[in-house]
Amino acid sequence: MSNQKKRNFQTEAFKHRVVVDPKYADKTWQILERAIHQIYNQDASGLSFEELYRNAYNMVLHKFGDKLYTGFIATMTGHLKEKSKLIEVAQGGSFLEELNKKWNEHNKALEMIRDVLMYMDRTYVESAKKPHVHPMGLSLWKDNVVRSPKIYSRLLETLLDLVKKERTGEVIDRGLLRNVTKMFMDLGNLCIRLILRSLFWMLLLCFTRLSLRSLLSLVIVGITRRKLRNV
C-alpha cells in the first residue's frame, strides 16, 4: 500500500518534470522571443498558436511569469525603437504615411502577442498588479515612437501643415489624417491633451487670421474629447 502511494506521487512529479530542467525557462523564452520577432517581421504564418500559447502558459504555470513579462516588454521595446528609426528617416510627405503604416503593423502584432500571452494576462499580471499586455503595448508605442524627440515635433508640424494646406484649398489625404487622429484616441487622454494643446497654441500663434470655422472645429474637438473622458 505504501509502495502504491509512493508511486502515485512520483508519477505526478514526473508529470511536472518540465521545471526540473534548469534551462527550461531560458529555452522556452527563446522560442517565444523568436516568435515575437517573426510576428513583427510579418513572417508568422508558419507559427503554431497552440505551441506558443502552451509555452507561455507553462512558463507562467511554473512561476516564470516575471521572466515572461519583462522579456516581452524588452523585446517589444526593441522593435519599437527600430520602427521609430525607420519613421525618422522617412522623407517629407511619406513621414505620416510611414508612421501610420508602422502603427497598423504594431497594432496587429500587439493583438497577436496579447492573445499568445493570454494566460499571463489573466493570472500573473492580475496578481502582480501590473499593466495588461495591450495597454502596455500602447504605452510602449507612445514612449518609444510618438514621444521620440525627432518624431514628436515633426508630427505636430506635419499635422499643422495639413491643416494649413486644407485652408488654402489644397486636397489632403483625409483618410490618413483620420487614422492618425484615431491613433491619438487609442493612445489615451494624456497624448490627446498634449497634442491638442500644442496644436492649438501653434495655430493661434501662426494664424492670427484663423478662420472662424477651423477655430470652432478645434474647440468642438476639444470639448468632445473632454466629454468622452468624463463618460
Binding site: 502504491q4 506521487f9 512529479a13 503554431s48 497552440e50 505551441e51 502552451r54 492573445d115 493570454m118 489573466r122
Partner: protein, 326 residues
C-alpha cells in the same frame, strides 16, 4: 337524453343543448381540460344560471384549479343571440364558485361555451400557482434537450467537422465554432493568421487522446460521470489552460470529495499549480487539522525536497495555526 355530453377542442369546451324540456336543472357529463374533469350546469329560475366547477375528486381537492375563462351562451337559429360573460379569474372548488346569471330565457337549441384563457394549479401553501400548459421554461427545456442531442451527434458522427486535433495518442475531429465558443484561447487560435487557421489542425501534445475526447465530450454536452471521474486531473489541466471556468470549478469540487492520505500530497501540488484555493485549504486541513500528516511521513520528505518555497511557507503557517503548545 343525449345532450349532456360536452365536446372539447384545445381550450374550448362546448355544450349543445337540444331542448331544456320540462326540467329546470341540467348538469353536463364531465369533460377534461388541463388536469381536471369539469362540469357545467344550468338552472332556470328568474334567469338562466350557468355554473362551472371541477368534478369532486382528489385532484381538484389537492390541486384546485386557478382559472381565467369566459362563458358564452347563444341560441341556434335565425335570430341568433349571443351573451358573453365577463372574464372570470378565480379558484374553482365548488359549484358556487362560479355562477353566471344570463338575463334571458332560451327555448329550443342553444349552446354554452367555456373558453379557458389560462389554467394554473393553485398552491395550497400560499406559493405561486404553477401553470398546466407549456410555458417558456418547458419550451426551453425541450429546446435544450434537442440541442444537446444535435451537439452530441455532431461529435460522434463527425458532422461537418472542420478541424483535426492531433493528440499524443491519435487524432480527433471537432468544430472550430464549438471550440471557439467554449474557450477564448481556441477563439484566438482560429482568429489569427497562424498555422492552425490555415491548416485547420491543432497539435495538442500535452493530452492523451482519451483525455482530449473527454474534454470534447464536456464541450459538446455529453460527458459521462465515469469519463469525467477518470480524466478529471487531465480535464483540470485543460480547463485551466483553455480558460473553461465551469469545468475547472467542477474538477476542483470533485477532487475535494475524495482526498485521502494516498493522494493528499498530489492534490496539494495540483491545487498549488492551478491556484485552487478551496482544494489547497482542504488538503492543508486534512494534513494538519486532522493530523493525517503522520500517515504520509515517508512521502512528505520527498515532497518537501521539490515543493515550491511559497507553498512550503503556506504549509508552515498552517502548522503554526493549528499548533497549540500545552
Amino acid at each position: 337524453m343525449g345532450d349532456t355530453k360536452v365536446e372539447t377542442i384545445s381550450r374550448l369546451a362546448q355544450w349543445r343543448i337540444e331542448n331544456f324540456g320540462p326540467c329546470s336543472f341540467k348538469k353536463s357529463d364531465p369533460f377534461k381540460v388541463g388536469i381536471w374533469n369539469w362540469h357545467l350546469s344550468i338552472e332556470r329560475n328568474r334567469y338562466l344560471s350557468v355554473r362551472l366547477f371541477p368534478e369532486l375528486s382528489r385532484v381538484s381537492k389537492e390541486q384546485p384549479p386557478y382559472a381565467r375563462f369566459v362563458l358564452r351562451v347563444s341560441n341556434v337559429g335565425p335570430n341568433r343571440r349571443l351573451y358573453i360573460s365577463p372574464v372570470y379569474e378565480k379558484i374553482l372548488r365548488t359549484t358556487d364558485d362560479c355562477v353566471w346569471h344570463v338575463d334571458s330565457t332560451f327555448h329550443g337549441r342553444f349552446t354554452i361555451d367555456v373558453e379557458f384563457l389560462d389554467l394554473k394549479i393553485c398552491s395550497l401553501n400560499g406559493g405561486e400557482a404553477s401553470p398546466v400548459w407549456p410555458t417558456d421554461t418547458t419550451m426551453q427545456s425541450i429546446s435544450t434537450q434537442t440541442t444537446l442531442k444535435c451537439l452530441s451527434r455532431m461529435l460522434e458522427e463527425n458532422i461537418l467537422s472542420d478541424v483535426t486535433i492531433h493528440t499524443s495518442g491519435g487524432t480527433l475531429s471537432a468544430h472550430k465554432a464549438i471550440l471557439s465558443a467554449s474557450s477564448n484561447v481556441f477563439k484566438s487560435m482560429f482568429h489569427h493568421d497562424l498555422k492552425e487557421k490555415e491548416s485547420s489542425t491543432i497539435h495538442i501534445d500535452d493530452m492523451s487522446r482519451e483525455s482530449c475526447m473527454a474534454l470534447l465530450s464536456y464541450l459538446y454536452g455529453n460527458i459521462t460521470q465515469e469519463d469525467f471521474w477518470k480524466h478529471r486531473l487531465a480535464l483540470l489541466g485543460a480547463a485551466n489552460k483553455y480558460d473553461i471556468t465551469d469545468l475547472k470549478a467542477a474538477c476542483e469540487e470533485s477532487l475535494m470529495e475524495d482526498i485521502n492520505s494516498g493522494n493528499v500530497l498530489e492534490r496539494l501540488q495540483e491545487a498549488w499549480l492551478y491556484q485552487l484555493e478551496k482544494l489547497k485549504k482542504g488538503c492543508l486541513m486534512y494534513l494538519f487539522d486532522f493530523g493525517k500528516i503522520y500517515d504520509v511521513r515517508e512521502e512528505i520528505s520527498s515532497f518537501f525536497r521539490q515543493a515550491d518555497r511559497e507553498l512550503m511557507l503556506e504549509m508552515f503557517q498552517e502548522v503554526l495555526s493549528v499548533w497549540k503548545p500545552v
